[in-house]
Symmetry: C2
Subunit: 193 residues, 2 copies
């Protein structure tokens, strides 16, 4: 998605540790127009799937999910993050390891909010090591529902998450795929749409 | 807003401690159509204000803010919650006491994301004691910007937040105002729109 790549080049900034800061339009500040266009691209890309729900994990995926859901004419659901591992009978949950925070946390969705006949588009702002997204897949499949595909705004090709998810057979549509990230340059690979 | 009151009556459930659970359409599961209508109501209510930005605090306010921003044709920004009190030069921040969790936390917005000429509509899913909303007001005014008003989905009239904010002169537009909340009945007062 050319527009997203251009916004990253002009408004993103690179911080130590291969961190790409896009809080001016993707996370923290939400550019509604851009997110609607992202939703349209995923709608076209996944047009052969009868998507019934969009799902993400809090917090920076929520606006992306809400606006993608609007484009698709469905509802959005977000998984909540907690630090407790306690099992609750009334929710689907998965353990996720955060490399950034170097600790494990739990993501969970109430069982009332996802049904076996749901066909779910998973979305998020970034795809790096893929742990959070894999946890979302576990939750959807644990509910007996189907993962229609995965929509990502920005994929870091130099981290293993995208390859891992594609190897498992998930259809990942990343709108910007970054091969190289340094304060001097941002090099894009071919995006999925 | 009659539609919101009806959804609360039909789909909400009351838990001990005067907790109203609306995760099936407001938080966790996001009913995009309903949130668009909420955004339209606030757009009409605050029509005399030249709103430049919608702001909320993570996580359950984000979808509401994104869809209200869409209706208003502006961007949305959300304040992040952290448990550290460290002062950062590059962000506006406020201390907020959570009665639910019985601890203080910090909410913060990058200084790059709010400017003195901004006219900000603050929104959130619930208004109870008003601490988080007061923190958002502090952040906006700390940036030299103006609070256009406060848009709330559900106000608990039996808690002090709404009166406190209105006493301070803020124009609060709550779409459903609950006088009494018990497992047996939910009694609404007159909503602001």
């Amino acid at each position: 998605m050319r527009e997203l790549e251009e916004r990253i080049l002009h408004e993103g900034s690179v911080r130590p540790g291969e961190i790409l800061l896009v809080d001016g339009f993707i996370n923290q500040c939400i550019d509604v127009d851009l997110m609607e266009k992202m939703g349209q691209v995923w709608k076209n890309y996944f047009a052969d799937q009868k998507i019934t729900k969009v799902m993400t994990v809090e917090a920076s995926g929520i606006a992306i999910a809400a606006l993608a859901a609007k484009e698709l004419g469905v509802t959005a659901v977000f998984a909540k993050k907690t630090e407790t591992q306690k099992i609750h009978d009334d929710r689907y949950q998965a353990q996720v390891y955060s490399y950034t925070k170097q600790k494990e946390y739990t993501i969970a969705v109430s069982k009332r909010l996802i049904k076996p006949d749901d066909v779910v588009l998973l979305v998020d702002d970034f795809l790096a090591n893929g742990c959070a997204m894999l946890g979302l897949c576990e939750i959807v499949e644990g509910a007996g529902a189907k993962v229609a595909g995965i929509g990502i705004a920005i994929e870091k090709n130099f981290q293993k998450g995208g390859a891992m998810l594609r190897d498992k057979g998930y259809d990942v549509c990343s709108l910007a795929r970054i091969d190289k990230l340094s304060p001097e340059e941002i090099v894009f690979g071919k995006a999925d749409a």
